[in-house]
Symmetry: C2
Subunit: 121 residues, 2 copies
């Protein structure tokens, strides 16, 4: 939780380092930042990085689960770049902090299908 | 980062929910709490949950990477239970916040081997 502990090291990156990282699209537009990671309880696989944007001072923001595989880290930007336009994001699966969906296989398939990513159970 | 966003939902658990969770051993002794997750950058697999304990007000604490697969969530304890005795933990791979090792395959093999967990690249 303390940013001073956040690091990358060898083949791994810490969750503290991922959380708060800015996300851009390929046009260089800022889409938001990573709020949280959704991890498959059984396998330990990170399924989604949850993009947060909108709202004011964290109030009323929307959350967009992005399949982990669409995130590419760009060292020059110190952020993630995703192949998602702003208009594509507008129609994407999203929720508010008080309205978290159940991440079941149906929801996973719906999210992945939106971004053209194969859903693997 | 905000605990109000931390949740479990369906098949997934959020990184915010895991971070800060208490870890017990099978004798019911409190070993510490999860500080951070170390994620394989390429695959998105959570390789280690980093157990933190010792120190005072977060100063001088030690960090012990635990293979994700050794953590079992116990709903009655609202915490993780691991098959690790206090004396076993004393000899385990650890580091301080200012001395993070490079998580390369050699380090991964060493950590996993200590806990009898197969290391898969």
């Amino acid at each position: 939780m303390n940013p001073s502990y956040a690091y990358e090291s060898g083949d791994v990156i810490s969750s503290d380092r991922v959380e708060g990282t800015t996300v851009y699209n390929e046009a260089g537009e800022k889409l938001g930042s990573i709020d949280d990671l959704m991890i498959d309880k059984r396998s330990g696989q990170v399924r989604y990085a949850v993009l947060e944007f909108g709202g004011f001072l964290g109030i009323g923001t929307d959350r967009y689960p992005l399949p982990w595989s669409v995130l590419k880290y760009d060292t020059t930007k110190d952020g993630y770049v995703v192949p998602i336009s702003k208009s594509q994001l507008e129609g994407a699966p999203k929720y508010t902090e008080t309205d978290v969906p159940v991440y079941d296989p149906d929801y996973g398939r719906r999210v992945n299908s939106y971004y053209g990513v194969t859903w693997l159970p």
